[in-house]
């Protein structure tokens, strides 16, 4: 883990090979060009030095040479661009079956939570051969999640979800850095990613996982504590003043203005914290804002819970009477993947349909 002198970093993810190939190509290309320029300068400088008796007759040339140079360099540059974009698509597009993990960053600490509730600080266990997708948010300033061995990096922003994914290939311990300057102890905001074989990982997970409550479970408690279910009732019940949350995740939600949005994590987060921004068609704006009342982790738990609320068959919402209530959707929209609505079940599997926008939703 970066304790010994190296000149090339460990490669431990499926992305590493792709990035390295492009990088080495660029290194070779640059070396060739640099040597060419240096050689040409040296040759010309020596040949045309003052003491040398050579032909110095002035020739008025056009710009042909430059145009040829441009014509050659343009396709090369576009080739590099396309290759780079291809690698980047790979880096930024998480596979559908990726294992979800949530990350909350703060000065100067990384907090992870696995789908089954297992919490970790500054250390992250993951198995090999399994794509992992991190949904990240910062509690304070901008941080950046960077694991050199995986060749990927993503800024962690306050107020907005971003995500990063990787699939580890080599068991081992790898350094995790905060790459965006975040204040005094920026250089100490480091951690490690422990990559294990699937068996070891399963064993680790089974270890004392029971001590940590699954996020959906925590979310359900919060849901009840804030009495969200008073208004957000199942579609078939009477007295729902807010749109039902069943099957909300990844469905298309029609808004008051006539547009529709896909209910991804970012949308759900905004609707909890600033409900008036995207009003669901056919409902009054009566929901209060939860800005500053629910912590970032709390919001993530609520979202985890809402994701478990399946389509029509839903039963759960332990309704207790009272006011406010978060998030919103149109009852009509069907769930993309109905699943178990027992909140204790891990919400993992149905996470992250492909059309989620790379954590880049504006």
């Amino acid at each position: 883990m970066n304790t010994e002198f190296q000149i090339f970093p460990d490669a431990a993810s499926t992305a590493a090979g792709k990035v390295d190939a492009l990088y080495l190509f660029m290194v070779v290309l640059s070396a060739v060009l640099s040597v060419f320029v240096a050689g040409l300068v040296t040759y010309l400088a020596i040949r045309y030095r003052r003491a040398n008796n050579v032909n110095r007759e002035h020739v008025d040339h056009g710009n042909t040479i430059e145009y040829i140079a441009m014509a050659i360099s343009f396709p090369i540059l576009m080739g590099i661009f396309l290759w780079g974009a291809k690698v980047c698509f790979f880096l930024f597009r998480a596979p559908e079956q990726a294992m979800p993990i949530t990350v909350v960053a703060k000065q100067w600490m990384w907090k992870f939570q696995h789908a089954d509730g297992r919490r970790e600080i500054d250390t992250l266990h993951i198995p090999t051969g399994q794509p992992v997708k991190l949904t990240m948010v910062s509690q304070d300033v901008i941080h950046s999640f960077f694991v050199p061995a995986f060749r990927t990096k993503q800024d962690v922003l306050p107020g907005r979800y971003t995500s990063v994914w990787f699939e580890a290939t080599q068991p081992g311990e790898y350094r995790l850095y905060c790459a965006e300057y975040c204040g005094t102890n920026h250089s100490r905001m480091i951690g490690k990613v422990i990559v294990q074989s699937p068996e070891d990982f399963a064993r680790w997970m089974a270890g004392d996982a029971a001590s940590d409550e699954p996020p959906a479970e925590t979310g359900r408690n919060l849901f009840e504590q804030y009495q969200c279910g008073t208004c957000h009732r199942p579609a078939n019940e009477e007295g729902a003043r807010g749109p039902t949350l069943e099957g909300l995740f990844q469905s298309r939600v029609p808004l008051a203005g006539g547009q529709t949005v896909v209910a991804d994590e970012t949308y759900m987060r905004e609707s909890i914290l600033r409900p008036a921004q995207k009003q669901v068609a056919g409902y009054q704006q009566i929901m209060p804002t939860y800005e500053g009342q629910v912590s970032e982790e709390g919001v993530m738990h609520l979202i985890a819970y809402i994701k478990t609320l399946g389509a029509p068959a839903a039963t759960k919402p332990a309704a207790a009477p009272a006011p406010g209530s978060p998030a919103a959707t149109e009852p009509a929209a069907p769930a993309t993947e109905p699943t178990v609505d027992t909140p204790t079940a891990a919400p993992a599997t149905e996470d992250n349909a492909a059309n989620e926008s790379e954590g880049n939703a504006p």
């Binding site: 970066n2 010994e4 002198f5 090339f8 792709k18 990035v19 990088y23 660029m26 640059s30 060009l33 320029v37 240096a38 300068v41 010309l44 400088a45 045309y48 030095r49 003052r50 050579v54 002035h58 020739v59 040339h61 710009n63 430059e66 140079a69 441009m70 360099s73 343009f74 540059l77 576009m78 590099i80 661009f81 290759w83 780079g84 974009a85 690698v87 980047c88 880096l91 930024f92 300033v141 901008i142 960077f146 990096k153 993503q154 922003l157 306050p158 107020g159 907005r160 971003t162 905060c178 965006e180 300057y181 204040g183 102890n185 920026h186 250089s187 600033r274 790379e358 954590g359 880049n360």
Partner: protein, 548 residues
Amino acid sequence: MTGEIASTTALPNPEREPKNYLNAAWTVRSWLLTVDHKRIGLLYLAGITFFFLLGGAAAGLFRLELMTPQSDLMESETYNKLFTLHGIIMIFFFLVPGIPGVLGNFLIPIMIGARDMAFPKLNLMSWYLFMIGGCFTLYVTVAGGVDTGWTFYTPYSSTYSNTYVMATAVGIFITGFSSILTGLNFIVTVHKMRCPGMTWFRLPLFVWANYATALIMVLGTPVLAITILLVALERGLKIGIFDPRLGGDPVLFQHLFWFYSHPAVYIMVLPAMGVISELVAAFSRNRIFGYKLVAFASLAIAVLGFLVWGHHMFVSGQSLYAGMVFSVLSMLIAIPSAIKVFNWTLTLWRGEVTFSTPMLYSIGFLGLFTIGGLTGLFLATLGIDVHVHDTYFVVAHFHYVMVGGTVMAYLGGIHYWWPKMTGRMYPEGWARFSAVLVFVGFNLTFFPQFILGYLGMPRRYHVYDEGFQVLNVMSTAGASILGIAYLFPITYLIWSLKYGPKAPANPWNAVGLEWMTSSPPPTENFTETPVVDFEAYEYHRNAADSHG
């Protein structure tokens, strides 16, 4: 035509020196209230040299700290303040005002045959604004520093940092006005003050480059000003504009910041390219290969420079498609830059090359700028940038461009025009030695940082993993060589002011209006307004009579 003016004004007179801009008046007042662009150029020289030493000292200190992975010399707070100070001073108080302030001010009016800038008082005001801005920075340094990094990313800078962000912001805001006024002065001067016969395509490329720079200063700096103002409002008046707790977008700050700060890179490097054009032409005794394309390349870089800011934000959460647009535009900007390198190199072809100090710096520039430019392509490539963004790879890249490019060109230019500015020659042997030393020290400092970057060492790290130590020690060793190498020119150039041999009007036997007046030039540059009936860099037409 070269002969006449030069020989009449530069006659050595052992009894009494001819009147020139330096001996026109001796009082302090005559310097501090001067409206002579040449004196203002020297005022800038004093100012930026001071800031360069200060910024360099900061770098020296933290490079020393980085010899070992742990914290030994200083706390993290101090370390963070030092790299912030280094960045702010070097960028806003050395690189941006450097070549335009010193060489641009001194040379542009002479090169175009004018008596002064279009707005001499405004020009003086620029210098004062620059110094006032600098005083704020000095105050911050003395009072306790600022730790946001020169990029001032919100919300750290607007809400979390408890250091002197406001005072620094005010300083940069004021210096920004200096930059705007300088740019404005350059634009109007180049448009309206050219002497008879000095058409656009007879302008030296240094003037073209500064003109392109001025466009960026005028168009970009105001955006920085409003951005800083918004951060200051946020901090000072507690208006939350980039505050995510109100729904504000911290990434919006980055967009605004880089909208200026990426073009600012070209503010720093375009004038350097202009200097190199002059130097390479003079010491190859050849017209710049493809003069017009080099001129247009400057403008192309200035324009494209405004369209690529998003390549600083590939991993900050902007959409992948926006990233692709910025990536492709950043690739395109490589073309005019490559054209320039290519044309400087080919200028040697069929030239008559000599290796005086300015030429050594130019050759150094060509090598280092090529590496800086090529590694810029790495960073413009999406797939690679994700990994190397915010690592030492970026640090190495922009130092190759800013120090390997701009500082090398600046030093080369200072040596080349030193006889003109001061009327004295510098000691050539020492100067060549220092030029080589700078080149060696520079490469040893920054090349290891490319490797560190790809290994994954993030920038702005006070303590780091042990595996990175070897390369960091190399870098620190190089930095000490570089630091000493920079002290040489400062010493012998000051020495030459008194002991250097008197310079003739045209020591390099170069063409260009600045070599057709005496060294140092008279207060209004020429005894009579020159009339230009020759093209730029006409070494070939000139070859016969220039020795006369």
